[in-house]
Amino acid sequence: MLFRGLFNQSKEIEFFRFSNLLSYISLGAISASIFLFFILGLNYGIDFRGGTMFMVSSTQKIKVSDIRNSLSGTILGDISISQATNPLETLSAGTFGSTDNIFIIKVEKTEGINVETKVKSLLKNSVPNIKFLQIESVGSKVSSELVRNGMLAVFFAVISVLVYIWLRFEWQFALGAVLALIHDVILTVGVFSILRYEFNLSIIAALLTIIGYSLNDTVVVFDRVRENLRNFKSLPLLKVLNLSINNTLSRTIMTSVTTLLALFALYFLGGDVIRGFTFAMIWGVLVGTYSSIFVAAKILLILNVKRDWDEKDSKAGTQF
C-alpha cells in the first residue's frame, strides 16, 4: 500500500542530539506563556467572566458598526461585538447559508437591569429581521464557581495521573509524565493568551482531553522504556530511551495523524460553536506528541531512572 514502509526506517533517529536546545526552547515557551498569561491575561468567555452573550443573525446585510450604534448610549456596560466569519463555514452552514450576518455580542454583567430584554428590544428596533440564535447569561456567582471547578478538574486530573503512573512505573516516570502534562497545559494557555481566542468551559474540557491524550502518548513510550530497560540491561539509559522512542515512533505518528484527521474535519466542518475547542485539541495533540518525547523522556534521562530492575523485584511497577 501507499504508506507501507513509510515508517519502516531502518536507521535510528537520534532524538536526543538537539534535546538540550529543545529543552531551552520549551523552558522559554513556558516562561513566555506564563508571562503572557499575567500580562495579557486570557480572553475569558462569559462562562468565566459573567455577563450575557448574544448570537444574532439577520437575513439582511448588517455591519458591526450598525449593532454598536444601536446599543451605544445605553446604560449597558462594556460591549464587545464580533462577526462569526470563516470562509469554510459555508460548507457546513446548513440553514444559515452563510455566516456573513452572524454576530456575537457580549455584554458585561450589569446589576439591576435585565440585560437580555433590554438588548433584545434595542436590536429588534434597529436591525431588521434579526434572529436570536443563542443567548447565554451567566451570573458572577456561577462564573466564579465555574472557574474554581475548572481549575480543580485540571488539578485533580494531574494528581490522579501522577498517582497512576507512580503505581504502574517508578516515581521518575510519574514526574516526567506530569511535568510533560504541565508543559502542555501551560503552552495551551499561552497560545490562547496570545491568539486571544475565547477561553471558556469547553477549553477546560479540551485541556483535560489534552492531558488524557498527551499522557496516552507518554505512557506508550514509557511502557517501551520499561520493557527495554529489562531487555538491554547494559545499554546506557540514553540509548534505551532513544531506542524506545524509535520503536514507538510509527505508532506515535499513526495515532497523531488519525486523531488530527478527525480533529481537522471538526475544525473546518464542525461549526463555530466548537471551533475553539477543536483548535485547543489540535494544538494539544501536537504539543502532547512533542512533550512525550522531548519533555517526558528527557526528564527521565535527567533523573536517571534506576536500572537494577530484575524479574524478582515485582514491586517495581505492576507488569500486566
Partner: protein, 545 residues
C-alpha cells in the same frame, strides 16, 4: 494455529447484533421520532424494532437551560421576624425585671436581643426558651417533622443570640427547596412544553431545562415572581410614604400609581395559600381580570370581614405591591371574587397561572440562563454529522493505505465501535450534546490507537520471529500493557470531566468514556477475530501488515 470457538464467534456476533439493533433507530431519527410522538399514525418503522433514540442535549435541539437559586435565607429571616414579634410581646410584659429590650442588627441566620438589665439575663433566657417548643414558628405550611429543640440560645453579657439548630435549618431548607421544586414544576408545566427537566442541584439550586422553547422571556416571567398574594386591611393611604407605622402595620407602594402609598395591617385577612382556583376573566367593564375562589374556611373569614367593613377599602397585595385596593361595596359570602388591576390579557393569564400554582416559599435568583434557538441546534447537528462522516472517512482511508488488509479489519472494528457508542448512548439514556459529538469524532481518531499499537507490535515480531501466528500472538500480548495504560489514563480524564463538568461538557465526557471502552473492546476482540479467521482460512505464507 488460532482457535475459532463457536462460543467466541457467537458472543462477539451477538454483542454486535444487539448493538446494531439498539443503534438503528438513530439512523432513522425523524421516522422514529414521528412514531414516538404520534403513536396512532401508521409508521414505516416496524413495531418489533427498538425505538429508543439518543436524547439530544439542549444545544442540539434548542431550548432553555436555567440554573436557579432559591433564597432560603429569606425564609429564615422571615421566621426570625415572626419570632421577634412574639418574643417581644412576651418580654415586654416583664419589662420591670428585664429593663429595655431591643433587637440588634445581625446576620440573617441569627436573632440578637439586647436585654437592658444584665442581672436578669437568665430570667430572659428562660422566657425565650419557652418558644423553643412553640409551634407558632411552624405555620401549617411548614408542618412536617418538628424536632423539639429548634432554637439554640446563647448569651454573652446582656446580649442573647438565638439561632436555629443545624438539623432544623437543614430540614427547613429542604422543605423550602422541595416546595419550590414542586411549584416551579407546576408553573413550567403550564407553558405546555414537552418533557421539561426540573431537578435539584447542590444545596439550594434548581436546574430547569425546557427543550424546544425559543425564548426564555415567558419562563422568566413565570418563575421570576414569588406570587405571594394577600388580602390586607387598609389603615390609611397617602401620597407620602412616611406613615407612623405601628408594630403590626406596614407601608406598601401601589402598582398603578407610584405616588400612592398604603398603610396596611401586617397580618393578612386571607392569603393566596387558601385559593382553590384562579382563572383569567374580565370585569364588568370588559377589562382583563382574574377570578378566584377560596377554600371554605377562608371563604368564611373573607365573608365575615367584608360584612363588617362595608364601605372601607381593602388591599390586594401581590409580591409586596398593592395591585388594587377596591372598596367593599357589599358582603361577599361565597368566597369568590375577581382581582382587577392594570392587566393586559396576557398578564391576567399569567397571574392566574401563578396563583393557581401557588406562591414560591422564597424568591429565586437566576444564576445562569442559556437559550439556544432551534436553528442553531439543527445547524450544529448537521455540522457535527458532516464532520463525523468526513473525519471518519479520512481515518478509514488513512488506515487502509497504511495497513492494507489489516487496516480494513481495523476499519470494520471502527465502524462497529461507532455503532456500539450509539447503542450505549440510547440504552443508557445519556444525553448527546455538541461537545458529545466532538467526543465521538475524537474517539474515531483515537479508537484506532489500540489497533495501531497491536499492528506495530506485530510488524516488529514479524521481523524477528518465525511463525506468522506467533507474531500475532506476541504482538497482542506485548501491546496489551500499553493499551491498558494508555486507555486508563484517558479514562481518568473522562471521569474527572464527568464529575466537574456541567451540561454539554458532561456530554463530552460521556461519549469520550464510552468511546474508550468500546474501542478497547473492538480492538482486542473484534479485530482479533478477523485476523484469526483470516489466518485460519487463507493460511497466508507472508503477513503484510
Amino acid at each position: 494455529m488460532p482457535q475459532l470457538s463457536f462460543f467466541r464467534i457467537s458472543l462477539i456476533a451477538t454483542i454486535c447484533l444487539i448493538a446494531l439493533l439498539f443503534a438503528s433507530p438513530n439512523f432513522f431519527y425523524n421516522t422514529v421520532d414521528k412514531k414516538i410522538n404520534s403513536p396512532s399514525q401508521p409508521s414505516p418503522w416496524p413495531d418489533f424494532m427498538p425505538s429508543t433514540l439518543v436524547k439530544l442535549g439542549l444545544d442540539l435541539r434548542g431550548g432553555v437551560y436555567m440554573l436557579l437559586e432559591v433564597k432560603t435565607e429569606d425564609v429564615i429571616r422571615e421566621k426570625f421576624d415572626f419570632l421577634w414579634t412574639d418574643i417581644r410581646s412576651s418580654l415586654v410584659k416583664k419589662r420591670k425585671e428585664l429593663g429595655a429590650i431591643r433587637r440588634l442588627d445581625s446576620s440573617t441566620e441569627q436573632l440578637k436581643i439586647e436585654i437592658g438589665n444584665l442581672d436578669s439575663i437568665d430570667f430572659a433566657i428562660r422566657e425565650i426558651e419557652k418558644f423553643n417548643s412553640s409551634t407558632e414558628l411552624f405555620s401549617s405550611r411548614w408542618s412536617g417533622s418538628v424536632t423539639r429543640d429548634v432554637l439554640e440560645i446563647n448569651s454573652e453579657d446582656n446580649i442573647v443570640t438565638i439561632t436555629f439548630s443545624t438539623e432544623h435549618l437543614t430540614a427547613l431548607e429542604k422543605q423550602v427547596i422541595d416546595q419550590s421544586l414542586e411549584i416551579i414544576r407546576r408553573r413550567v408545566d403550564e407553558t405546555g412544553t414537552r418533557e421539561p427537566t426540573i431537578q435539584r442541584q447542590g444545596r439550594k439550586r434548581v436546574l430547569v431545562q425546557v427543550p424546544g422553547l425559543g425564548s426564555s422571556e415567558e419562563l422568566i416571567s413565570l418563575l421570576g415572581k414569588t406570587a405571594k398574594l394577600t388580602f390586607n386591611e387598609v389603615v390609611s393611604m397617602d401620597t407620602n410614604s412616611s406613615f407612623p407605622a405601628k408594630m403590626d402595620e406596614m407601608v406598601i407602594g401601589s402598582e398603578q400609581n407610584t405616588d400612592l402609598f398604603f398603610l396596611l395591617k401586617k397580618r393578612p385577612v386571607v392569603s393566596g395559600e387558601n385559593l382553590t382556583n384562579a382563572q383569567p376573566s374580565f370585569d364588568e367593564n370588559g377589562l382583563p381580570a382574574v377570578s378566584f375562589s377560596f377554600n371554605p374556611s377562608a371563604a368564611l373569614k373573607f365573608g365575615n370581614y367584608t360584612k363588617e367593613n362595608i364601605g372601607s377599602p381593602f388591599a390586594i397585595v401581590l409580591d409586596d405591591v398593592v395591585i388594587s385596593a377596591p372598596t367593599i361595596r357589599s358582603h361577599i359570602p361565597g368566597g369568590s371574587g375577581i382581582i382587577t388591576g392594570n392587566f393586559s390579557v396576557e398578564e391576567s393569564n399569567r397571574l392566574a397561572i401563578l396563583l393557581r400554582s401557588g406562591a414560591l416559599p422564597a424568591e429565586i435568583e437566576v444564576l445562569e440562563l442559556r437559550t439556544i434557538g432551534p436553528e442553531l441546534g439543527r445547524d450544529s447537528i448537521n455540522a457535527g454529522k458532516v464532520a463525523a462522516i468526513i473525519g471518519g472517512f479520512l481515518v478509514l482511508v488513512f488506515m487502509w493505505l497504511s495497513y492494507g488488509l489489516f487496516g480494513i479489519f481495523a476499519n470494520v472494528a471502527l465502524m462497529l465501535n461507532i455503532i456500539l457508542v450509539m447503542a450505549l448512548l440510547s440504552v443508557l439514556g445519556a444525553t448527546l450534546t455538541l461537545p458529545g459529538i466532538a467526543g465521538i469524532v475524537l474517539t474515531i481518531g483515537m479508537a484506532v490507537d489500540a489497533n495501531v499499537l497491536v499492528f506495530e507490535r506485530i510488524k516488529e515480531e514479524i521481523k524477528r520471529s518465525s511463525s506468522i501466528y506467533n507474531s500475532i500472538n506476541i504482538g497482542y500480548e506485548k501491546a496489551l500493557s500499553s493499551i491498558v495504560d494508555a486507555n486508563v489514563t484517558t479514562m481518568i480524564a473522562a471521569v474527572i470531566l464527568f464529575f466537574f463538568g456541567s451540561g454539554p461538557i458532561k456530554g463530552f465526557s460521556v461519549t469520550l468514556g464510552l468511546g474508550i471502552i468500546t474501542s478497547v473492546f473492538t480492538a482486542l476482540l473484534i479485530t482479533r477475530l478477523f485476523i484469526d479467521a483470516y489466518i485460519l482460512f487463507y493460511k497466508p505464507k507472508v503477513l503484510r501488515v
